[in-house]
């Protein structure tokens, strides 16, 4: 199941080597396509060479269809793939500035690398210009900051923005690409004075278009989200589940586990990010309730012998427990009464009332002494509400940051 590095199937140490290899292929393909040449690139704006449009659209459609099919058949988990977020105004204004840069400079950053690598001096100057531009942006960032962060819409999808299904959008994009290929080819031929197009070329183009339309029809019928929920248990099963007290872990057992390294529990904090950042138990991973069944966490749960969920009062954890159980994850227990009960019991003033008066109270005596110890242990933790004593463990499975 991909993506391999974020999923931990390939160690992240190899990620840079993968980047290098992919970079070599990327650079080679750009150069082979003719993207090292500013004259070919600028041709797209003047109609004498539409290579940019052909390569660009073919690549986008190929990758889009590959990702839709890969996600559908469980080969790649799109929840772990970086989706660039939309910041409406900075995206548009940035794009307009880049449009000027493209026409005036004749390159874009990726193509200028391919150009510079083959000795194009104009590409090298363009690269120098990029560095200057970034420096200028960085030094005057306070001027741009508001615009840069305005209307943050998150990683939204184009088909949602347009209010149509993913399949329909993909299909329409493919049809548009074919139409664009055909029209621009005509314009290009006209401008370059090519009268006769070889019959074999026409035939080849026809076959390619047919294959693309076929792919478009396939993706048209693929739903956006793969349904990977397990079978849903019947109501009786859930009620039986909630009558079974073995799902709980109590204050003393959790305290014991936290106090002894060799029993260190795997903890999942299902509260809001704000609460988690303010205080969390040592080593807890933050998995908010609304994304607890998201595929990105599946490997996390599957890897562990047992995961202990906690919330403030223990109510949310019941929901989380049922949701996880329904999705087939059963190696979980929940902290009874949540953090509130946990700290109440540990620091209870009436622990003193547990003071035994006769030997019959031996178990209570032990409990008392344990709680006294635990109170001391957790005193430090609670006092240092932010940040928690042991830095919360960052989940290993996390979608990568940033694109270009």
């Amino acid at each position: 199941m991909g993506p391999l590095v974020p999923y931990g199937i390939i160690s992240s140490e190899f990620d840079l080597i993968i980047a290098l290899i992919i970079g070599v292929l990327f650079g080679a393909v750009l150069e082979q396509a003719g993207f090292g040449s500013s004259r070919k690139l600028a041709g797209v704006f003047y109609g004498y060479d539409f290579v940019v449009l052909r390569v660009f659209f073919t690549a986008a459609v190929t990758a889009m269809v590959g990702l839709i099919l890969g996600n559908h058949f469980g080969i790649i988990d799109m929840n772990l793939v970086f989706i660039n977020p939309t910041f409406l105004w900075s995206t548009l204004v940035g794009g307009v500035i880049m449009g000027f840069g493209f026409v005036i400079g004749g390159f874009c950053p990726g193509t200028s690398l391919a150009g510079a690598a083959t000795g194009k001096i104009d590409a090298m100057f363009f690269l120098g210009g990029i560095l200057l531009g970034i420096l200028l942006f960085a030094e005057s960032y306070p001027l741009f900051e508001n615009l840069h962060n305005a209307s943050a819409l998150g990683p939204i999808k184009i088909y949602d923005t347009l209010g149509i299904s993913q399949g329909l959008f993909a299909f329409l994009l493919i049809v548009m690409a074919i139409a664009a290929f055909a029209i621009t080819q005509r314009i290009e031929n006209k401008i370059n004075g090519i009268q006769q197009v070889k019959q074999s070329v026409l035939k080849g183009n026809g076959i390619a278009a047919a294959v693309l339309v076929l792919l478009g029809v396939v993706v048209l019928f693929i739903p956006a989200e793969r349904n990977n929920k397990g079978s849903i248990p019947a109501a009786e099963e859930i009620s039986a589940l909630l009558n079974d007290n073995s799902r709980f872990i109590d204050t003393d057992e959790l305290a014991f586990k936290l106090m002894h390294k060799e029993f260190a529990p795997v903890l999942a904090d299902i509260r809001t990010a704000e609460e988690y950042n303010y205080f969390s138990l040592p080593g807890a991973v933050h998995i908010p309730l609304d994304e607890i069944t998201a595929p990105r966490w599946r490997a996390f749960f599957n890897d562990k012998e047992e995961v202990i969920l906690y919330s403030n009062a223990g109510v949310l954890t019941e929901d989380a427990y049922v949701l996880l159980y329904q999705s087939g994850i059963k190696n979980i227990r929940i902290l009874e009464g949540g953090l509130n009960t946990f700290f109440e019991q540990i620091f209870a003033a009436d622990n003193a009332a547990l003071t035994p008066t006769s030997p019959a109270y031996k178990p209570l005596m032990d409990k008392y002494q344990f709680r006294i110890k635990a109170a001391k242990f957790f005193q430090g933790i609670e006092n240092s509400a932010k940040p928690s004593v042991v830095a919360p463990v960052k989940p290993k499975i996390i979608a990568v940051e940033g694109g270009c």
Binding site: L16, V24, A59, A60, L92
Partner: protein, 171 residues
């Protein structure tokens, strides 16, 4: 015509580029990008020359605080690979040559000045728009992000609208 045919068929090149992009998604969970590496170069250079300034400035500080090394990053390695791959491809296809490409009506000097100005605009635009043609537009389109399509439309829409103004540079 002879020279032109030496480039790969555009559709084949596009298909291969799509596969490379898929590879990036499949292995590393991210798309391709080029301007990110250049940002790392700028941040590292500023940090080397004026570390105090880098730590105090909003833009740089998030990349350099806590001893981060912005040059040891995915996008920088990708860019290094791109230069190697482009160079290799140029050698194989016999296209290695120090030249300045330009329209017939301008001097080399004008072309180089325009290249620097264009580069600067692209550098600013790519920072503001969170990615360039490859990182924001191409990779964004592949994952069907709204940002990807908006970036595409903004870059090429602007390009077509203003192309007549800069006709002299290319035709």
């Amino acid at each position: 015509m002879e020279k032109k045919s030496r480039y790969m068929n555009s559709y084949l090149a596009g298909f291969l580029l799509g596969l490379v992009l898929l590879g990036a998604f499949y292995f590393s969970g991210r798309g391709l990008g080029a301007s990110g590496a250049m940002k790392s170069v700028v941040v590292s250079a500023v940090n080397a020359v004026a570390p105090d300034h880098a730590n105090e400035t909003t833009f740089y500080s998030k990349y350099v605080t806590g001893g981060q090394k912005p040059l040891i990053s995915w996008l920088v390695f990708l860019a290094i690979g791109m230069v190697i791959g482009g160079n290799f491809s140029g050698i194989v296809s016999d296209r290695m040559k120090f030249t300045i490409e330009k329209g017939p009506r301008i001097s080399n000097r004008t072309r180089l000045i325009m290249a620097v100005i264009g580069g600067m605009l692209f550098g600013i635009g790519a920072q503001l728009g969170r990615g360039c043609t490859s990182g924001a537009a191409l990779s964004g389109m592949a994952v069907l992000s709204t940002a990807g399509f908006l970036t595409l439309i903004a870059i090429f829409g602007t390009g077509y609208l203003i192309a007549w103004m800069f006709k002299k540079l290319w035709l």
